[in-house]
Symmetry: C2
Subunit: 334 residues, 2 copies
């Protein structure tokens, strides 16, 4: 069997956990396993955990490593795609210019393909989720940070180095609040889970009345985006207004993307997106107010259909496409 006909292993490398799954060409998941990333142990240890996870997932699927065509890795990191490097990774301490692709390939004896996790999710949703059949779409993940992936003219667009779609680090408020990346006023600093928590904490510290104080047992610094969501569901005024404000900023980020990319669809995933209408309604409204009418009317802003599997599915599809032999006659892409 040619490598591209074999199942692949998809690996999702996050700051907290590693997921590995054996996935067939048709998108069937034969196994799925989790491991803790234990990021504080440093890059080489984490890579060892990834190798273990791959082997375990293959065993759990009842297969040998020889039955696997290759490995697709989606990582929460800035990727240098042509060299297979993790350039920077805010949630993985000491990951600077780590040749992840090469190290995994050596340990596993398999071809490895590496991409950013939000790009993988974009590819997954495009091929098997909410974006099927479209040409131009943007995937945005809103959680602790904000990441993105672009499908342009029916193809995953990774940019020249493989680090395109860093949507969270689009500056929308010059000299605005500090962002983890070192800049100020990035979309991530205005509309991520981190930003929501910070805004709620600031309002509480300024004497705002809210159930949040009680939910966090009086410790303002323990207020998280999750707690803000819980309070908002219980109609807490402060929590609702914080979410409204963050969603308004998110909408401005969406409007910028709508004016620049003019996509058919924007898919918003990630932990914060689970708020649902509470986030989506004001974000859509703000987007429509801040973008040109024509592209704003075209774009649909929706939730992902693959949920948390979008990245894994995308990593599998990415590997499968790279493994396929280049044959212009068949229209296969390089």
């Amino acid at each position: 069997m040619a490598p591209f006909e074999k199942p692949v292993v998809a690996v999702d490398l996050g700051g907290t956990k590693i997921t590995a799954a054996v996935i067939t060409r048709k998108g069937e998941m034969l196994s799925r396993i989790y491991r803790l990333t234990l990021a504080r142990e440093g890059p080489q240890k984490v890579i060892n955990h990834m190798v273990d996870a791959v082997k375990l997932s293959v065993r759990k699927a009842g297969l040998e490593l020889s039955a696997i065509g290759g490995v697709g890795v989606a990582a929460a990191a800035i990727i240098d795609i042509s060299r297979g490097l993790v350039t920077e990774a805010p949630n993985l301490p000491r990951w600077h210019h780590i040749p992840l692709r090469e190290r995994l390939a050596e340990s596993l004896g398999k071809p490895v393909f590496l991409l950013n996790d939000a790009s993988a999710a974009a590819l997954g949703e495009y091929r098997m989720g909410a974006g099927r059949g479209l040409d131009n779409l943007i995937y945005i993940t809103v959680s602790t940070g904000i990441g993105g992936g672009l499908i342009i003219n029916g193809q995953l667009y990774n940019g020249t180095d493989g680090c395109a779609a860093e949507i969270g680090h689009m500056i929308v408020l010059i000299d605005g609040p500090a962002c983890k990346c070192g800049q100020r006023g990035c979309l991530e600093a205005m509309a991520s889970g981190t930003a929501i928590a910070r805004m709620a904490q600031q309002r509480l510290a300024a004497g705002g009345k809210s159930r949040l104080a009680e939910l966090a047992r009086g410790k303002i610094e323990d207020v998280t985006a999750e707690l803000v969501t819980v309070a908002a569901r219980r109609k807490d005024g402060l929590a609702l207004s914080v979410i409204d404000e963050a969603a308004g900023y998110l909408g401005i980020g969406l409007a910028n993307l709508v004016n620049i990319i003019n996509p058919q669809m924007i898919i918003i995933g990630g932990g914060v997106s689970k708020m649902g209408a509470m986030l989506f309604s004001p974000a859509r409204k703000s987007m429509k107010e801040h973008a040109f009418k024509l592209p704003a009317r075209t774009v649909r802003v929706v939730r992902p259909r693959l949920g948390m599997d979008a990245g894994l599915m995308g990593a599998a599809i990415f590997a499968q496409e790279k493994l396929r032999p280049i044959c212009p006659a068949l229209g296969a892409k390089k």
Copy 2:
């Protein structure tokens, strides 16, 4: 001779003048003529001027209309590309949903292809100018307003409706200065010629000392970006610091694009770009400070090579490509 082998007429429709040129498949310009747009006369009269300009350019090239394959039009407007409409055009009064493509095609009996002027310039520079041989580039025109065009994976990217790359209306300062488009804090309101004039006027009104007052004969409201440039060339402190500030904002816009698109090149054209190093040096510096290191190191920020002809050349190439028969075997694009 098949239509795609014939020369085409390229038309550049601006707020002030209409340019028409007969251009061969090889990019040779056989003639070029100008007419005033006289935009205040309204859409139908302007369309008549365009028809006249096309006919005149053909005659000047010593040809008959029957020798022309088609017409490519680059317009300073928001274009609905699939329907051939001018949706909005800030510099063309009363142009709302004008079926420009159809009206020209009827009057001329030729196929007409319509696109945004900055997109046309992007295509021109990509095929025959500074961006030859690259895959991913952004063209930005900085003049009274700020427009843009995108080349993605070696193809002009117009977006779903044909109105992508509205780079000037990316919001970089929430609640910032008012923009002509009705929003606040757009890049155009921070770094265009209009913004430079406004900033200089504000500083003069606040009592700032400068040669500008004298250059504008004491009339602060007559200070333009051109005058600011003249004063800056004469080392005027206020003028230099205004340009520096605007270039810094431009650099933030560039950084956002670098983080989102990760292009190989950004080409900055338009009237304001003629300032040269005075604008480019601080803009490049600011871009590098505000973007991620990897994509910032990759991108080159350069001036156009075709100058004011980029849009005309792009319109001609656009028409020629659309006229070419679809033949997958030859690799021709639809």
